[in-house]
Symmetry: C2
Subunit: 344 residues, 2 copies
Amino acid sequence: MGGDHGPSVTVPACLQILEKHPTLHLILVGDSDILQEQLKAHNAKPLVDTKRLVIHHASQRVEMNESPSQALRTKKDSSMRVALNLVKENQAGACVSAGNTGALMATARFVLKTLPGIDRPAIISTFPTGLSHKNVRILDLGANVDSAAENLLQFAVMGSVLASAVDNIENPKVCLLNIGEEEIKGNEQVKKASQLLTELGSLNYAGYIEGNELYKGEADIIVCDGFVGNVALKTTEGVAIFIGRLIKRAFHQNILTKLAGLIALPVLKLITKWIDPDRYNGASLIGLQGIVIKSHGGANAHAFSYAIQEAVIQVEKNIPQRISAEVERLLKGSSRETLPGENQ
Amino acid sequence: MGGDHGPSVTVPACLQILEKHPTLHLILVGDSDILQEQLKAHNAKPLVDTKRLVIHHASQRVEMNESPSQALRTKKDSSMRVALNLVKENQAGACVSAGNTGALMATARFVLKTLPGIDRPAIISTFPTGLSHKNVRILDLGANVDSAAENLLQFAVMGSVLASAVDNIENPKVCLLNIGEEEIKGNEQVKKASQLLTELGSLNYAGYIEGNELYKGEADIIVCDGFVGNVALKTTEGVAIFIGRLIKRAFHQNILTKLAGLIALPVLKLITKWIDPDRYNGASLIGLQGIVIKSHGGANAHAFSYAIQEAVIQVEKNIPQRISAEVERLLKGSSRETLPGENQ
């Protein structure tokens, strides 16, 4: 029900992805009248008949500007909450939502709980890099502020699992986002996290990276605090829009520049095709006992289908179980190995 | 002596700016042999004869990769240190350097000391916005990590002084950089800073801004912690370079796109002309008892002359004294006003 467009986007997205995955089943959680209508409008009867697309009614919805705590308190039958309950009860393998991020995070944390050994879940998303066919996953993008070194270490482990299991990267390269200006480079948390990652030894930790290197393709996973990651993410968006506007303005100067624009437009459009922002839609809330994917609120059906696609892969790859196993193996094991005297 | 190009850039930059400002005098601090040579190479004899351009010898230089503490300890006769001493002794109105930022900050702080009422100096720079003729100043860009709410408040006051005195903006609009994703929006420091700014009342505080709004032209001053600001700054740089590369690659596809590129190039060059990155060269280290301007290490002579230009304006406008007065008036005054019972 969420996002800027609600079921008018999510329903056709479901149809697109069901066509690609013949064994996939989807549950639409929300206002059944509205959903029925959308299913009719998109001729979904065959899929409904085979039960590959079913409606699960929820009487409420979380508004986009609603505070997470209010949503938690007063929206116990919201589409978001009900969908997360279905994941908890193993009736669904994952929850995909375009709704209110804060409310989704708070509700998911409340309903699903974090994995053992994970103190805080994180938001992770994939971005294109300057190298073709190479992406980078960055976390945390805003679930946490004031992350401690131990949180950053856990983010690194979770990111590594995602990169190796979902992106099929062997030994993914992990970097910590830092700054180079301060007298003693970086802040305490990042410096300590770097030390923890070095001591751990088991991850492919490649040291610090700065903001200008985010999209250079040198790292597979970039780890940072959620405040910092969110600022980097939003700044990226802002700069891209700013440059886009400047390009438009430049080609709208006069009749000659407009003609040049007509000639250049197909070439410039190549860039959007290369980057294909739709393909990167779908951030994961990881570290929870269940799979939750957050679509951009403004996503179109094509983009939303990529968010579902990410959920499908994470279900197939058993991501929460894998994270759990890695946390058990690496974080518990390492502290015994590197600090042999500590617990004895 | 610093930066990627040393005196081969700084000397011609001096000549450019001396031509513009007939009453300006500049002191070149560094290796006198190298500087003599550069002066000769650039036919600076008339300026040397009138003593508008003099050399002050310094036997050492701080390397770009040297640690600030090492520079402080072992480079007591570095060009940087000697130049800052000249400012301290009132033999120079300002110090302009393209050298090692960390070392410049540490040395400036050691030599000049912070202004009374300012706990930490900050790095502030100017950026273009989507609105023509409107710039935004952002601080801190990396002098501090883990800034407390009180530091952010001081940054806001210093930024306001700069915007009103240097940019001639009446009642400059101040925003705090924050994120919108976390359950209780933002981190403690930013939320407390917002409360302090609201209580203060005297600044034109306009609330929170997110990373995607940095260059929208809505704020005159954007305040943030140095770690966050540095990541935003570097991310901006990274995204701009990334998009630039994509544009180049798109126009290099084949003979037709190359032809389109030939036609589009002058239009795309307009954008560089509009933004004119050279013009934004010169970050200020503010909050010190003296004016220190940091040029980009890779600046060309034209860009470096803008850093000197910023120093000239700040000298003319008595920036440190104005900041001091505003801190005295606003921060000491306000705490008496808003907390009438506190000190009695």
